[in-house]
Structures are given as structure tokens and as C-alpha cells.
Symmetry: C3
Subunit: 138 residues, 3 copies
């Protein structure tokens, strides 16, 4: 059996944002109580999702800086430049980090480690609202 | 409930190839109409799969060039060289990009964003046919 | 339907370790015979999991060295340094490689390619035991 719904995130600035609470609340709102697997899928090609430390915000800062150094804006490698200097590096970061995660669900709650939170990566300088597809499989 | 089948891809040259239509057709051929999750799993260690822009082919070119620069053939770092200069970088790219994706299914159709397509990464210079395992969970 | 259980790994030193047998045995121990999908989820922010070559150990050595060069200990980029020089690069590697995999299950057995094995990445110098969540969906 499965439950599937879409979620629109608030408009974020470029960087990494903790969205654990938004996901948790969306499961509560829909009274999800099942044990199984939660898939969170980003429907965009320049925004990513992953799991990492939920405590010290410097982890998110350093990860942002690392990715910006790895795939810099304005690299001479890029030929896909019509949509802005931040577009091609956004695609690269999305591919490296991934655009979906799978999280174990236990009685409707995400079975995360105590230090784990859900990171949403807005890779563009100016993005519109981003949409997620959540699928619960049980 | 689940449906599982294997799919053999056409023999691709080194680079990134859009396989969205092949996946869509394989679901139609098997009359999949369920809502749930589709897992696509590459059964190889030097080929990858991910999701990114389906429109401008320059995104695939730039991503290919980025990965080739990140994990170049003939790097002095590699000791695993018996299978060719393109072998170890192929393993690295496969690990960084991933060898499987999970896609939400809605009434048998992949619930992708309008700009999203499925990328198959053939990382070897000369590869044989590659096999995928598709699993539909509903 | 789903089966979910946790698994504690042996204490590994920093590096990449093949855990295919541990996963296979955990499925046998629980008499899993279903066809569907197996999710393996690492409950930590500085250890990762992926799939790659199970044969020549030099692939694991080269991948370890590649990741250590890509996200070196003691990089001047990092501000998150209180937990040790190996902490922030561990978070980065975990994000790039991923903290979970999905594997097709066929009658209780992982449907892997003949050269594929499951890699566990211990990114810290001194780690305690690490916990996995395994979820079988069928």
C-alpha cells in the first residue's frame, strides 16, 4: 500500500536549509502511522536533498562552501550558460548530492539517528517555490 | 505488493544518455497502472543513473566534462589500473552519482518535474550491454 | 507490507569495508523470502554506504584515497573543526556518497550484479559502533 502527496516548500535563498520539521508535520497532518519507507523526491533539476547533521549550522555552511568550490559559478568548463552563471553548477550539485532520499518510517515517524536532519539544497540564486513528492510505502 | 523485471539497455558509448522514454515504455509494456514507488537499479559498477535536465543537451555535455575533470583517466592516485585507464574513474563516478534512483509513480506514470529526465551514465570507453532491475512497489 | 529491523555493525577502522555478507546473513536470519525492495539506511552523519566492485580490494583503496583528496582533513575551508580534523570531511563524504541504498530483492536475495558488493564507509578516525536500519518492502 502507498500514500502519495505533494508539498510546496517556502521560498528559500541559495544555501542549505533544515526541513526535518516540515516533513514531520506533513506526516502528522495526514495522520500517517505506518511502518515502512518514506521517499522524498525533489521535482527540480537545480535543487537537492540529503541527510546530515542537524545540530551545528557550521556544517551546513562548510558543506555549502565545499560544493561552491567544487562546482564554482563561472567555471570555464561550462557551455550551458544561457540561464545564468549559477545554473550549470546547480545541476552538478544536484547530481552529486541527489534529488531524493529514502527514510525508514516507524509507526509514522522517521527513524533517524539523533544527529540526523533533512537538508534541502537550494542551488540557484533566485528560485521560485520548490515542490516535493512524498511517497509512503508500507 | 511489487512487480520486478529486468531491462537490457542498448549499447551506449561513453557519456550521458537520456533513457526516460525507455523506462516509460517498459512500464507501459507491462501495463503498470499502480501508484507507489519505482526503483531503477543498475547492475554494474562502472555505470550510473541519476535525474537531471531533459531539455538542453549541453547540460549532459558539461556534466560529463565535469566528472571527467573530477576523476580523470590516468590519475596518479589510482593503483587499480589493470582493467584500463578508464576503469577506476568509472567506479568513482558511479559511486558519486549513484547506481540507483527512486521515482514516485502515479497511476503507472513517473511523477517527474517537467524538466526532469533520467540520465544513464556509461563511464567506460567500451562497454557491453548494461542491465537494469526495475521494481515497482505499491 | 514491510519488515523493519536494526543492525549494529562491528567497529570498523577508517576506510571502506565490504558488508555484503553481513546484510545477506541478516536477511537469512530473519527468514526473508519476499520479492521487493531492501532499503539500508545508515543512522549516522559521518558514515556512508554505496555499491561497487566486490573483487579487487584496490578499488576500495583508490576510492578511499580519492575521497580523502577531494575532502581533505584540515582543509582551510572548514569552520566546523571542534570535533576534530576528520569530522567535517566525514560529513562531506557522507553527503557525496550517500547514507542509504535501495537494493532489489528477489525471493529474499539481493539481486546484485556479479561484481557488485555493498561498501560501508567509516569516515571517522575513531568511531563507535554504527547502526543500520533495514526495511524490506514487498
Amino acid at each position: 500500500m502507498s500514500i502519495q502527496f505533494e508539498l510546496t516548500l517556502p521560498q528559500y535563498r541559495r544555501g542549505i536549509h533544515l526541513i526535518t520539521d516540515i516533513i514531520e508535520n506533513s506526516l502528522k497532518d495526514r495522520a500517517v502511522t505506518e511502518t515502512g519507507l518514506l521517499s522524498i523526491f525533489v521535482k527540480h533539476t537545480s535543487a537537492g536533498i540529503c541527510i546530515n547533521e542537524n545540530a551545528d549550522p557550521s556544517v551546513r555552511t562548510d558543506l555549502t562552501n565545499f560544493l561552491n568550490a567544487l562546482a564554482p559559478d563561472n567555471s570555464k568548463l561550462y557551455t550551458h550558460t544561457e540561464e545564468g552563471a549559477d545554473d550549470m553548477p546547480s545541476h552538478i550539485k544536484t547530481v552529486l548530492v541527489g534529488n531524493s532520499i529514502s527514510v525508514p518510517l516507524n509507526r509514522g515517524k522517521m527513524n533517524l539517528g539523533i544527529w540526523q536532519g533533512i537538508y534541502f539544497l537550494e542551488n540557484r540564486n533566485k528560485a521560485t517555490n520548490r515542490n516535493l513528492v512524498l511517497t509512503v510505502i508500507f
